[in-house]
Symmetry: D3
């Protein structure tokens, strides 16, 4: 367990906990590509996400924008919408962030993403929204 | 000039000013598709960007994430990196936001985007960075 | 109900009816982002689709080309293939339109889209085709 | 010269002429990949574009939708906007077709495409538009 | 059965056999677009894949890279990972090839692809890997 | 200079040399995001490209497939086509690899990539090809 892994694992723990979606997805790949999990922890979280200079919630907003635009990223979007909530982004801000991608990524991408957001918020009993104009 | 256009134009003015990149790009299309400019002002800015519930700087972070992932969006990225600065995102936060897309959108997209960011920051005499660990 | 919404809802009704796929998908988001449905009706249908200068069927051909190329747009493709039929595009023309994307978007995208088209045509008892050389 | 090549070359000639953009682009590749040109003629035009069941103008609308959504397709978009005009799509219909991609492919893609359309129409002295509400 | 079809069908048979994924997917489209299957055999396999100058396994590596980057290509990825194995690419090389896309296409695409690779290798009793450092 | 950086820099040196395209592109970003260069060396080359289990030339074929499909990756494609040559992929194999992406990524992407390949091969006086059926 090197320093990068430790830093990344600590960041992941803050953002989602070991029982989260990330753990399940990578756990299924332990017998084929364990290094893929290690790279995610060390690089995506240890090198990038835990850098100073931008807080965790704002980092998740960038990631959410990128995942919506990429398309075909449902499991990652589910994980990162949860992480954004854990980092203090409010449910209403989540909805606004997804809507903000609309002029750039178009209706199909945003409609899919909002459906994922609905599932994430419903699973945490955060619907209907109470903090947003979105209603 | 309807209410949506007025609200959108006001938001655009806050984010970039009438002499900015947006004005030039859309101005060139005035003789072929003036409604495209109107839709950008009314819909992208009047309906979406000016919604309450998420501040302008955070909206720009979502947009930056989406534009990096889409690719082939250099003029828009240039405009929105400038808007992010105008909305109070610091130069160091801009650099971190671009780096944060790396694990999701990959090196080619981030390398292109960082080159655009360099141009935007240099044009405002904001390089070298003074507020970021990125150095 | 503003004029844009009324115009968009009328266009949607012509293209698919209130019991169609669009209604179901957006209906599920009523408790999280009702404005997303409103934006689709007002902007996508009221501002754009109902413009004069290009008939509804030809508009659907542009949309079908875009959705195939984007990928990860199955529900939208299903809705718009149905709208194309409702706008007078024949089943054989639908098949030809999907095939026409092949040299530009490649086999994976077109194969997925043709599978969706098969479902849409079969649900309306329009298979086997009777108007096309495609057979 | 097999039958597929002859059919494809005839279709290309209808759509753009031997001195067009297509000829130049592929001509530059004659010393590295002459078969790429042959595949374009035989497959894209001889097998697909010249099929019965959908007229040439409607085929170009599908292609334009796909090219806008793909991004990074400026030379192809330039060629196909010209082909659409040659196939009888009016300048106003061209503008409407590009706008119709907006809710699905987003502002950056449509803004780039409209800039290309402007160049194609201006080169043929077709601006300002005289047949469209777009003005 | 022309020469191109025969050559393509022979190549497909080498790569996956008539009972494979390809047969099933295209078989379902026989009543709507039989020519799509013919184009895949004649063009993708008869014209391109069976060209001399690059061996079948290396061709599959290019295809795997392209499919991962495209996204939303699960059935094709499943077919081509199987083809790669049939062409002599080892299970460990498959895993390495998927990992090699990581810096360019990002974690979401590679995570999806590795999940598909896991299924393909498990179905052939090739897990755990015995030939790779990936463990 | 940690071990990952050293390993990555050694791999990069094998593939392109310090005066290559990579050095120039990243060098221009030294005053804004020096860590981006470090991440490329450490992660893309030190962690991934230098792994055992797949030779350098085959790794470049996966990368070339991914870059073609992504689009808007001209500088990277230029660098990696050069790396492929340096890793022993022959000019004829390069041309075949680019053509092999055609059925999956479509003509626009492959046409752009072949134009880049032409430039790379011409700069090394490798045209016309002498080892390939492509002629």
């Amino acid at each position: 367990m090197n320093e990068r892994f430790q830093r990344g694992a600590a960041r992941q723990a803050e953002l989602g906990g070991p029982g989260g979606i990330r753990g399940r997805v990578y756990g299924q790949l332990a017998d084929i590509a364990p290094d893929l999990h290690r790279f995610a922890v060390e690089f995506a979280y240890g090198d990038i996400h835990s850098r100073p200079g931008l807080d965790a919630g704002r980092r998740e907003l960038v990631i959410i924008g990128a995942l919506i635009a990429l398309g075909d990223t449902r499991p990652q979007l589910e994980a990162h919408l949860g992480s954004a909530l854990n980092a203090g982004v409010t449910p209403g801000e989540i909805v606004e962030a997804v809507l903000q991608a609309l002029p750039y990524a178009g209706f199909p991408r945003v409609l899919s993403a909002m459906t994922v957001a609905r599932g994430v918020l419903a699973a945490r009993d955060l619907l209907p929204l109470t903090d947003s104009i979105a209603q």
